[in-house]
């Protein structure tokens, strides 16, 4: 039998009132944690989100560079979970590391930037897919190339479907311009950010 066991819920409620943890206090501590983790070299993945004309974009970076740009439709939580498994679970919301990426994307969406000048971490893409991605920046701003043309550029003229797969699994959309790859018949073709996003990016570049 318990002796004078107090009502746990009541005690807990009173203690929580006596020792508040205000959101402002916690966000300050979070910032301090992110800075200390960066200083100690244990912030394996930093991320933030930005608003854009194609919806909320998740930006994630390792020490090496930008590793992921993700559309909302990909599910930002799911993307972070994948990064935890494939890269490291040492992941924090830490906008500082993404400052340059956020600024350059902002300029791009304002029509004031035609190419990105950011260190990239292409670890999430391997083999032929990675080769394809490395050729995409050669398609200039405001221009398009067909899947077939990219396959030729990458040295495997018959690997047209594989180019499609490489674009569909591009870990760095917008920054690595897979939206500039379209079908040979002039149709736009698919896009991991959805057809509206692809259309929006292509008309943005055509207008600027």
């Amino acid at each position: 039998m318990k002796i004078d066991e107090p009502d746990t819920d009541e005690v807990t409620r009173d203690l929580i009132q006596a020792f508040p943890a205000a959101p402002g206090d916690l966000s300050g501590l979070h910032e301090r944690l992110a800075a200390a983790a960066q200083r100690d070299g244990i912030l394996d993945v930093a991320y933030r989100t930005i608003d854009s004309p194609v919806g909320s974009l998740l930006l994630a970076a390792t020490e090496q560079g930008l590793i992921r740009v993700a559309y909302a439709r990909e599910g930002h939580d799911a993307v972070l979970q994948t990064l935890a498994v494939r890269i490291s679970p040492r992941i924090l919301h830490a906008p500082g590391r993404l400052e340059a990426a956020a600024r350059e994307l902002g300029e791009y969406f304002n029509g004031q930037r035609r190419r990105f000048d950011l260190p990239l971490d292409l670890r999430l893409s391997a083999g032929f897919r990675r080769t394809v991605l490395s050729y995409l920046p050669e398609i200039g701003y405001g221009r398009t190339a067909s899947y077939t043309a990219v396959a030729q550029l990458a040295g495997h003229p018959k690997a047209v479907r594989a180019v499609g797969t490489a674009c569909a699994t591009n870990p760095l959309p917008v920054v690595v311009p897979c939206h500039r790859v379209v079908r040979s018949d002039g149709q736009m073709g698919g896009y991991l950010g959805g057809p509206e996003a692809k259309r929006a990016l292509l008309s943005l570049e055509a207008a600027a």
């Binding site: 009173d14 203690l15 943890a21 501590l29 994948t82 040492r90 992941i91």
Partner: protein, 165 residues
């Protein structure tokens, strides 16, 4: 894809509780340092944490050790006084973030009672976990918490442990 969630999820879920525990055990002045040390150490060790571990108990265990470190560091910094003042006078008075006197009375409890109350009632850990953190038996942990609560109640008769001023 399964696996351990991003550490950010751990921070979101437990930041508040760990801060309350640090404030209860250390008082507001040193709580921020203990919180920061706790989460930095946790981030460092996180990849090696077993996937089925009780994250809250793990964090409170780290916080317990960090609180001891912070207390020792503060003691080393302290200037020795010719006359030792009465234990616990005004420790919480005027400090931001503490809601009046329950906080003050709690911070004046003997360390083990204070820790047992914080870990069981604020962090919600079962006494088995509290005992593992404090050392000693489960019964001893339960008794320390009960003694602590009894003292809080003595200071605040009536409504459970809070004063109505």
């Amino acid at each position: 894809m399964t696996g351990k969630p991003p550490f950010e999820t751990v921070v979101s879920a437990h930041a508040g509780t760990v801060l309350r525990v640090c404030r209860a055990v250390l008082g507001p002045a040193d709580a921020d340092d203990a919180w920061s040390e706790t989460f930095l150490a946790a981030l460092r060790a996180y990849p090696g944490l077993p996937a089925d571990a009780n994250v809250e108990a793990w964090l409170v265990t780290i916080a317990h050790r960090k609180a001891i470190d912070v207390t020792r560091a503060a003691a080393r910094r302290a200037v020795p006084l010719a006359e030792v003042p009465d234990a616990g006078i005004d420790t919480a008075e005027g400090d931001p973030g503490l809601d009046g006197d329950l906080a003050e009375v709690l911070t004046r409890l003997p360390a083990r009672q204070k820790q047992a109350v914080a870990y069981h009632y604020l962090a919600g850990l079962p006494y088995a976990d509290v005992a593992a953190i404090l050392g000693g038996t489960v019964d001893a942990a339960r008794r320390a918490a009960a003694d602590g609560i009894a003292k809080l109640r003595r200071s605040y008769p009536g409504a459970p442990v809070r004063s109505e001023r």
